[in-house]
Amino acid sequence: MNLFVIIKSLLAGLPNTVLILVISFLLSSIIGLLVMWISLQDDRVSRGVARLYTGLSRGTPPLLMLLLSYYELPKLLQFVGINAQDWSKNLFAIFGLAVGFGGYMGEVFRAAFESVDQSQFEAAYAVGMQRKDVLKEIILPQVFQIALPNIQNMFLDFLKASSLVYVIGISDMYRNATNLANVHQGVFQLQIFIVLGLIYWLITIFFEYLFKLYIKKNTYI
């Protein structure tokens, strides 16, 4: 089959893949920060909740995260009177991945938070700053910097999981690939999947490059 045809039809799924990848990743980062915050509380209940959530997040295959999000979440929402039946599939994919990986993100941030030098807090308090300013101005920027390599690794996990959104019928690159293979009864499956793999790889490289740029700009050398 014409290589051009393969590339063209795979790339048609690129917007969905990238959209889901990027937004779920950002959302998951926010959830991760929240989990970090909860897991750093003094009371046992909060820490227990954080740990439970992290455990669920670690033990659930992404495939199941997506299925549960798409089919079971609307039922939950129905309970509280929200009709989610017609919401876009992308929304559920994003939600599934973001929540599914939120526990991991929380761990990444917590580890980074704990490795920020204690003296940074002390110095900030000592110049009379309030807790919220200390966090916003001094600590979180450093948390991000320390966490970045791990966040970058997480990004690869997201990429991996985003290739599974086909299970809820989203036309991402992977779905387009299987679809294209199916048009020809799978005769060109290998070629198509090699091209698919290479496109994924290029996406990885592209985002790794963005990370590098960001790190370069935000390293307090």
Partner: protein
């Protein structure tokens, strides 16, 4: 929801858990062996080999594992078939299991080699220097001083990668290996009880991951204690 089905299916799913564990454990172990080689090759900056390894690591990390599984599944036999095409005789049969394990091992090797490298770098350089300075050969220095210290650093990362591997085995039913997810699909397909079957599977994955996470945590503490008293 059909709770009867859930209860009846659960032991059937458990019966194939060994397959899930077999693939993930064997994949992890083979991957570990490969990863050590890759890490050494890259750290020693062996010309030609090192950049090739770096490219391979990047490829295996940057391509979703399900795509890798397919490529290995469809590509490997064809490659081998190509080589033996002229030699007649019985057909060349590669069991899916072998292919699954190979795909997982390669993927794990790429991720583990990065973890090994970072664990290696986390051991203070002066530890190696000191060992060299008392007259140990570089090999002995790494073996006796650096390696024991990098192991505890490595375990948390290993744990993450291993749990990912367990969960990713949920994808190999696509190439005909009947592990927990595959069995769930098959059991479900007779009566289309997919949701029930998947919830069963979820419980199994959660418990297995929980147990391994705990075991590795204990191992880490034990090793730390052994290494640093």
């Amino acid at each position: 929801m059909d709770f009867n089905f859930m209860i009846n299916s659960f032991p059937k799913l458990l019966s194939v858990l060994p397959i899930t564990l077999f693939i993930s454990i064997l994949g992890a172990l083979l991957g570990l062996v490969l990863a050590v080689g890759v890490a050494i090759g890259r750290e020693k900056r062996i010309p030609v080999l090192s950049p090739i390894l770096s490219l391979l690591v990047s490829l295996f990390r940057g391509i979703p594992i399900i795509v890798q599984i397919y490529i290995v599944y469809y590509g490997l036999p064809r490659l081998l078939y190509y080589f033996v095409q002229h030699g007649k005789g019985s057909g060349l049969v590669l069991p899916s299991m072998l292919i699954g394990v190979v795909a997982f091992a390669l993927n794990a090797a790429a991720n583990l080699s990065e973890s090994i490298r970072s664990a290696y770098h986390s051991v203070d350089r002066s530890q190696y220097d000191a060992a060299i300075a008392v007259g140990l050969t570089p090999y002995e220095a790494v073996k006796r001083i650096v390696f024991p210290q990098l192991v505890p650093n490595f375990i948390p990362n290993f744990s993450n990668i291993f749990l990912d591997l367990i969960k990713d085995t949920a994808l190999v039913y696509n190439i005909g290996i009947i592990e927990v997810m595959g069995k769930a699909n098959i059991l479900a397909s007779f009566g289309f009880n997919y949701l029930e079957a998947y919830l069963d599977a979820l419980v199994i994955y959660l418990v297995v991951c929980f147990i391994f996470a705990k075991l590795l945590l204990i191992l880490e503490a034990k090793i730390k204690q052994r290494v640093f008293a």
